[in-house]
Amino acid sequence: MSLSKETQVTTDKSWRTICNASDLVKDSGISALLLKDGSEANSAGEDEQIAIFHIPNSEEKIYAVGNYDPIGKANVLYRGLVGCIDDEPVVASPLYKQHFSLKTGDCLQEEQSIAVYDIRIENEQVQVFY
């Protein structure tokens, strides 16, 4: 497996490679860590978890959002089913089935939202901007 950690210590955000495009699963999700160096890890010293969805038939084709389900309170969103509701690409939480927009991170049923990240595929590499 290709595990590419940024080597230089920097506080600036940039496009960082997460994995190979071949690690994606069509119409489904995988999870990844936004690996950070000691200085950048959040207050608890943890790396952030993200969910990456690959939906080739949709507009953006690839999406990255936070993996934490604020309603079910567990890191499970990458295991949800993806689809669309009124043409908005969404993931349904596998715990209690609320829909989160993959474009905005907003929950369609409750006053909750999750983080969204810029993501792209460059030279067969999946990259997130963080």
């Binding site: 089913l81 669309c84 509701i85």
Partner: protein, 856 residues
């Protein structure tokens, strides 16, 4: 509610008897709050459904049959007392008194005392196991007696006698019916129909003895009693059930000087008043126009008339139609109007098909323009339309015989459009076509809305199909589309998708979506498609094209718990497990520190496995001979069994072997919802089979099969589908039923709800499965055979497939594990830490043992 002052000034109504009609009166009367209603019931329980009494023996309980509850009467503000038989009426003081000495004043008194079974005074007839069939207490006595009996005789071959015979048969006794007249059901059916009925009932294993008068009952030689008939013949039996007619409970009227008929019955006028202007009589105790109506619908009408009369509204009881349609021991019988052709000048048309056991007769007026009556045996398909022709005096077609001749194509049909608005659709609740239209005008949007507003169909249920077609016809006229779409991406029901997939041989969701759907799909249509594709093709469900369709539970082959961990449930067929396998479960649970519990489904569940732990755990289990238990799938869950005849001193069949065989046969079958079985070794039913989708209970002669049971949110007892089946027939029927359910069930519809919604209900399903009425059994069996033959343990396939294993890695770019999953100890095992118990920690490095084992 009401203030005391109001209460004091309210007029008092006392209702004697809380049978079906008495109860109907209460419900109607309580709509008017000017009256204080008091109900006195001689029975130990409040009103229950006597019409469906027999279903008590096919699994319904006293609670299921109840028409009301104490809470409901409280809500209505109705006072009531059970075990309160009224023994005295003081007409001048207007007071009734019960056996227990309680007195109640009345302004209006309602006698709704019903009737009691007539027991002919046969010498020697008054013995311990001589019983009747009228109340729930009677049923309990019959059940107790049947437990210590082998042979049962029903005396009386009328409608109720045949129902009683069915009950005796279902209780597992050798069953006989003894009838005085030369034919069965002499009141409703003519001679020809009676002959055919006899043959059909005998085919079902009940022996029918007509033209037999019982002279005497003496002690038997082989059995408890011996019936001696007037023609010198004899019949031995252990249990005698009298069903020789009913007599009105008119004793109160007799003793306290109300007018009664020469042959009994409390005389009433068109307002249902007795000879005392403040006393009404309704239901089976009442005699109107020298006639007692032994059916519930006319009683309900009397109740309504009495209510209106009390409230000062004009109303009249003007007689009632006595037509009946019923299913006796699986034989369809219908009798309409003048079945015997007694009207002057009446002409009849008869159609008899002996090989198929069908008999139909219509009675028409001398000028052949009006329907007067009909008899239908073996096939009552035309009952509704024939009844409407008669009730509404609709002009008959040119050749009336066409109405009953089986010339499929050019049969004159009576569309619901042709019915006038005054046509009675539901006679139990006196609901007309106009009432149904009015309910739709008032906002009813579905057939079930219509049923709940109008009550149509909630009596005998005989009108259900007609109610549906009248309502549907009305919806259609208004352009209301009856929508069954599963979601915004597919304008189809699950059944339609099933047909599309099998007919067009579609193998993937993408194909299905591009040819018949829109958008990207969603969490509703994807699992449905996944399940349908699995039912039709039975591929490995994590195969690439199906992967993204499965709900997380199916994707990770485990049930997700609240903290994102999974449970591990290996199959333990029938609940049977060797000590060695139990030890393996213990060792695996210990090694991975999993919370361990015996489930409600009689197997073992290991909780708290993180995604990445699932493959190594399952590898150990599969190596030890376990298979997946499909606890995550909409598929066969458990077949719960008792030990059966192998160990249990009461067992009559080897339920354990049957359960294990069935569990292995159907494991992995994908369905609209989960499926559970139960197999019990005798009627004590320790496996609770009647609460399962498929319930199997051993009898002396084989197996009784129940379908459509459910525990869960809305418990339902299964319907008795067939009795005394041999192993082979049992499996054949179950194959067909399951496959039919798989094809026609709606999304997330358990067999219980499927049964309730199946048009034609149990009888229809029996026809499809046992008589092949749709001609699809060969296909159903073929499909099941293919599915059984292509079974694979999904966990075994998964741990052998490196591609599939990739999905169980916690993160694509790290071997760390989710730090949010934390446990604390409770009763010496782990449980998920609650919010405030969680400690913020850095991601723990994954223990290397587990990771390597999988990769290897």
């Amino acid at each position: 509610m009401n203030s005391d002052k109001q209460l004091m000034s309210k007029a008092k109504i006392v209702v004697v008897g809380n049978g079906m009609v008495g109860h109907h009166f209460v419900e109607e009367m309580a709509k008017n709050s000017d009256y204080q209603i008091t109900v006195l019931s001689a029975e130990s329980r409040l009103a229950y459904d006597r019409v469906y009494l027999s279903s008590y023996f096919s699994g319904k309980t006293a609670d299921d049959l109840a028409l009301t509850t104490p809470e409901h009467y409280d809500d209505l503000g109705v006072l009531f007392k059970t075990n309160a038989k009224v023994t005295n009426i003081d007409k001048s003081a207007k007071v009734v008194t019960t056996e227990g000495g309680d007195s109640f004043e009345y302004d209006k008194l309602i006698l709704a005392t019903g009737s009691y079974p007539f027991v002919p005074p046969i010498p020697g007839g008054d013995v311990e196991h001589s019983l009747v069939y009228r109340t729930i207490d009677d049923l309990e006595a019959i059940q107790a007696s049947a437990n210590v009996s082998k042979v049962g005789v029903v005396i009386g071959g009328g409608l109720l006698g045949l129902e009683a015979a069915k009950a005796v048969k279902e209780l597992g006794l050798e069953t006989h019916v003894v009838e005085f007249a030369p034919q069965l059901m002499a009141v409703q059916v003519d001679g020809g129909g009676g002959r055919l009925l006899k043959t059909k009932i005998e085919e079902l294993g009940v022996q029918v003895h007509t033209s037999k008068a019982t002279n005497e009952i003496v002690a038997g030689d082989k059995h408890r009693y011996k019936l001696c008939f007037s023609d010198g013949t004899e019949l031995e039996t252990d249990l005698i059930l009298f069903s020789a007619g009913i007599r009105p409970y008119d004793n109160l009227a007799r003793e306290f000087d109300l007018e009664i008929g020469t042959r009994g019955g409390i005389v009433i006028d068109n307002q249902c008043k007795t000879s005392d202007a403040d006393i009404y009589a309704i239901g089976e105790c009442a005699l109107w126009n020298n006639f007692i109506y032994g059916l519930v619908a006319p009683g309900y009408n009397m109740a309504k008339v009495a209510v209106k009369d009390i409230c000062g509204e004009a109303a009249e009881f003007t007689g009632a139609d006595m037509s009946t349609k019923l299913k006796l021991m699986g034989v369809e019988v219908g009798s309409i109007g003048d079945a015997h052709g007694k009207t002057a000048g009446a002409l009849t048309y008869t159609y008899e098909n002996q090989p198929e056991g069908v008999y139909k007769k219509i009675v028409v007026s001398s000028d052949k323009t009006k329907m007067l009556g009909a008899v239908l045996i073996g096939d009552t398909a035309e009952y509704d339309s024939l009844l409407q022709y008669m009730l509404n005096a609709i002009d008959l077609p040119e050749a009336p015989e066409g109405l009953i001749l089986p010339m499929a194509g050019d049969k004159p049909t009576l569309g619901v459009d042709a019915l006038p608005d005054t046509a009675t659709i539901c006679s139990c609740h006196n609901v007309t076509k106009g009432d149904i239209i009015a309910s739709i005008d008032a906002g009813a949007m579905t057939v079930s809305d219509v049923k709940s507003c109008t009550k149509a169909g909630s009596g005998c249920g005989g009108c259900a199909a007609l109610v549906k077609s009248v309502a549907d016809n009305e919806f259609e006229k208004r352009g209301v589309e009856v929508k069954k779409d599963i979601c915004e991406h597919f304008a189809y029901s699950r059944k339609e998708l099933f047909d599309i997939v099998s007919v067009e041989k579609i193998k993937t969701f993408d194909e299905l979506l591009s040819s018949h759907g829109r958008g990207l799909g969603c969490e509703i249509c994807k699992p449905v498609a996944g399940s349908v594709l699995a039912s039709v093709w039975n591929d490995y469900i994590l195969k690439k094209p199906h992967l993204s369709l499965q709900d997380t539970n199916d994707t990770y082959l485990g049930n997700m718990q609240k903290d994102g961990t999974y449970s591990v449930v290996p199959r333990i067929a029938g609940g049977e497990i060797t000590p060695d396998k139990l030890i393996v479960l213990g060792e695996v649970a210990k090694k991975y520190n999993l919370y361990t519990k015996i489930t409600g489904g009689a197997r073992v569940d290991l909780f708290g496995a993180r995604v990445e732990q699932l493959p190594p755990i399952w590898k150990e289990l599969v190596d030890a001979g376990f298979e997946t238990g499909h606890a995550y799938g909409k598929s066969l869950r458990t077949v719960k069994s008792c030990v059966g005849s192998t160990w249990c001193r009461y067992g009559v069949q080897d339920s354990m072997t049957m359960a294990i065989d069935l569990e292995h046969r159907y494991k992995g079958l994908r369905a609209p919802h989960k499926i559970k079985f139960g197999v019990s070794g005798c009627t004590r039913e320790c496996a609770e089979a009647q609460g399962k989708d498929i319930g199997i209970i051993a009898t002396e002669n084989g197996w009784n099969l129940f379908v459509g049971g459910n525990g869960g949110m809305k418990p339902r007892h299964g319907d008795l589908f067939a009795t005394d089946l041999d192993d082979e027939t049992l499996v054949k029927y179950v194959d067909r039923i399951l496959m039919f359910y798989v094809q026609t069930g709606d999304r997330l519809q358990r067999t219980s709800v499927w049964m309730d919604n199946l048009e034609g209900g149990l009888a229809y399903l029996q026809d499809v499965i046992m008589k092949d009425s749709l001609g699809i059994n060969a296909v159903l069996e073929e499909q099941m055979t293919a599915i059984v033959g292509s079974y694979q343990c999904e966990w075994k396939t998964t741990i052998e497939d490196p591609e599939a294993l990739k999905r169980f890695k916690p993160f694509v770019n790290s071997d760390k594990v989710d730090s949010n999953i934390q446990f604390v100890t409770e009763r010496e095992q782990i449980r998920p830490a609650r919010g405030q118990e969680k400690i913020a920690v850095k991601l723990i490095e994954m223990t290397k043992v587990e990771a390597e084992e999988v990769e290897a």
